[in-house]
Symmetry: D2
């Protein structure tokens, strides 16, 4: 059984390493989660049980992989930040991506609430991106948090309209091209003050090492990082 005769096939492996001294961001992202939410009858526009499961999975991921210094999550996505001088899995891309997304998925399934029977196994994809400076990493985090805000304001207004009697198509048409101010006004007319919406929906969730608690704060401002004595 000449196993060694076949081992030359290992030479075809080409695992890239990420550039040293750059911030590594790993973002896991739910695949087809619109359908997942419908199938499992999750609440609109936000389902706290699902967000809590995401957060719990992210917290466990932060705990397991000590090279992660910060995580930011919103909706069905979570970004994990690895510090520039880390040699996490020797910075091998395939190893990092696959291990993080596998563990995160595993934690998500294990922590899924018992009272919502899983209809099928959920899937996440994952990408790895390098950022050469803290400023650009910071812009990345702002980008994801701006995305959270924009989507949440839209979705909150959209579902308020639908609960108020509009069809989904009518709600879409009503909101098309509207500014934030108009959306806030629509909500206000329905006795919803957007500012009073839960912070977790408006800001998403930040996990900062070594605290591992869930923060729902602006990471738009540099003093967030100074407060936590990290990164800068």
């Amino acid at each position: 059984m000449a196993k060694s005769r076949y081992e030359y096939v290992k030479n075809f492996e080409q695992d890239l390493t990420t550039l040293p001294q750059t911030w590594i961001v790993i973002r896991v992202d739910g695949q087809a989660f619109t359908k997942f939410c419908e199938t499992h009858h999750l609440e609109k526009p936000n389902d706290l049980r699902c967000l809590n499961t995401m957060n719990k999975a992210a917290q466990m991921t932060c705990l397991k992989f000590t090279d992660i210094v910060l995580a930011y999550g919103q909706s069905d996505e979570y970004s994990f930040v690895i510090s520039p001088n880390s040699s996490f899995f020797n910075r091998r891309q395939q190893k990092i991506i696959s291990t993080v997304v596998s563990y995160f998925t595993s934690c998500f399934v294990v922590n899924w609430p018992n009272d919502i029977p899983l209809q099928y196994p959920p899937t996440f994809d994952c990408r790895l991106v390098c950022y050469p400076s803290f400023e650009i990493l910071h812009d990345y985090l702002r980008w994801r948090q701006a995305d959270c805000h924009i989507n949440n304001l839209y979705n909150t207004t959209f579902w308020a309209l639908v609960k108020g009697g509009l069809t989904e198509r009518e709600a879409h048409n009503t909101l098309k091209g509207t500014t934030s101010a108009v959306k806030n006004q629509i909500l206000f007319e329905r006795s919803i003050n957007y500012n009073n919406e839960p912070e977790i929906y408006k800001k998403g969730t930040v996990i900062v090492k070594p605290y591992l608690e869930f923060l729902h704060e602006d990471i738009f401002h540099r003093n967030f990082f100074m407060t936590y004595n990290i990164l800068v």
Copy 2:
């Protein structure tokens, strides 16, 4: 909330595509499964419940991703083969790796037997390799199946010795440098005919599209592929 101001950070994404017209192999591999087996008191040298969970997860993975034409699994690993002309996720490496390993992990956890409570979330890593010809792909599969045989013969003999009263250290020393013939003889003296061991342990498991049944056969011989009218 100028989201677009931050969107330049997307320019840092660099997802490689795999070379067209090459066989793509994606291998998921249990991380620290020696410890996982111990923690969950799995049977030695093979635990059929764990293998069945691996097989079930692989079968579901084959079913979900129609570009997979064949899968081969043994121990805590599974290789999925994608045909050369596939445009699975536009052949983007990060997307392919992350999605497959995430779904596989999800299926593994969901199908884990209820009577063995999970102590912690299992993790798999994943690598993607391209093979430019069927011959080399074939050698890859032979390599994994040879690995299955070699490890299984060793482990079967090792645990027979331990069950016979040797310490693990003594068993290791007894087997060090021994040939297959010697191992077969040791087993024979303990009334074990290795040839009669279950095929699933000796050969691993092959899943061929579109049948999706579990085969425990030699893929060393070219007519295996001819029988299934595939690949060649």
Copy 3:
């Protein structure tokens, strides 16, 4: 002078290797050669002195790098083919690309005809592509030779029109959207039988190891490779 203190910067080097057992094609391509031809008053549509310099540079390149098995050139470009089992510079992409294009450029300048004084240093760029099978490599070569034919027929007709009194703009407009048959007819009316044009212009130039002579033949047909007992 602690040189070693700085040597960590070597860790940032990331030279990719090309996939083993694939055909490597390295194509050098003249940069801004339209301007180069004008500045040096080269003949239209083909300048034999320039083509000879290209061929001589390619021949020397084939001679220096023994891993090259075939070269094909036309106009201001040359493709060099390296066999799949070669370990040329350990298949490192940057090393292969830079060395080949540097040597080719060097040979081009050294062999440039003395009677056409160089006005400035010519430049070539270079790309490396892997082809997983002989069939695809063959299509690559056919692609470049088809490109040679199409451009040469166009240029021959174009300059015949210009020499016949049309402005370049008029000649372009006359040829826009015409078939090969029409172009042949235009040439025929000006007493030019395209079939009698020199083979080097119509077919380009092939160099096959170990002969190193210049062939101006079709490489569209598989028996070309059989004749030279190579590649297949």
Copy 4:
């Protein structure tokens, strides 16, 4: 002549782009220049005519490619630095490497002194490395300049010994493991004050945009960059 039938082969091209907002260093390096120097009977330990040709080629390279902000050369190598926000050739690696090394080689040959007939075409290889911060780029430049000093001190001493009557083997053995101080002492005993050696030999050559003059200065100190109002 269905050219389009073959154009699918373009899909196999995989030109990587370098990470945005990182310093790009392109280093050209003479191949087998020990032999090149011997064949052309160049002077030991430094041949000013050859260094001048290197410098002239680098100066022309800086002039042609406006994205280059600084170049540093010594011995048979030259490093070109491209600023982080450059979109030089869309940051495509193959394009950048091949074009720069081709033009540099072309300039080297064109500027080679007429009174030293070229025996064969010289070749340079080239590598591209990204540095995520100015500090690391700075360490890269210090590394190359430290290399210049160490090699020049060694070579100056080595050839002083050889000119003093030792064989090359004896000179090597004499210098093995010696400190800088010892080498300075050996030179001093032969009436050579290393400090008085030409700066171009001891420091190499820096070219800073937009001045394009040749500087032979320390780039070890940050105020070098401040003086030239560049980079930082």
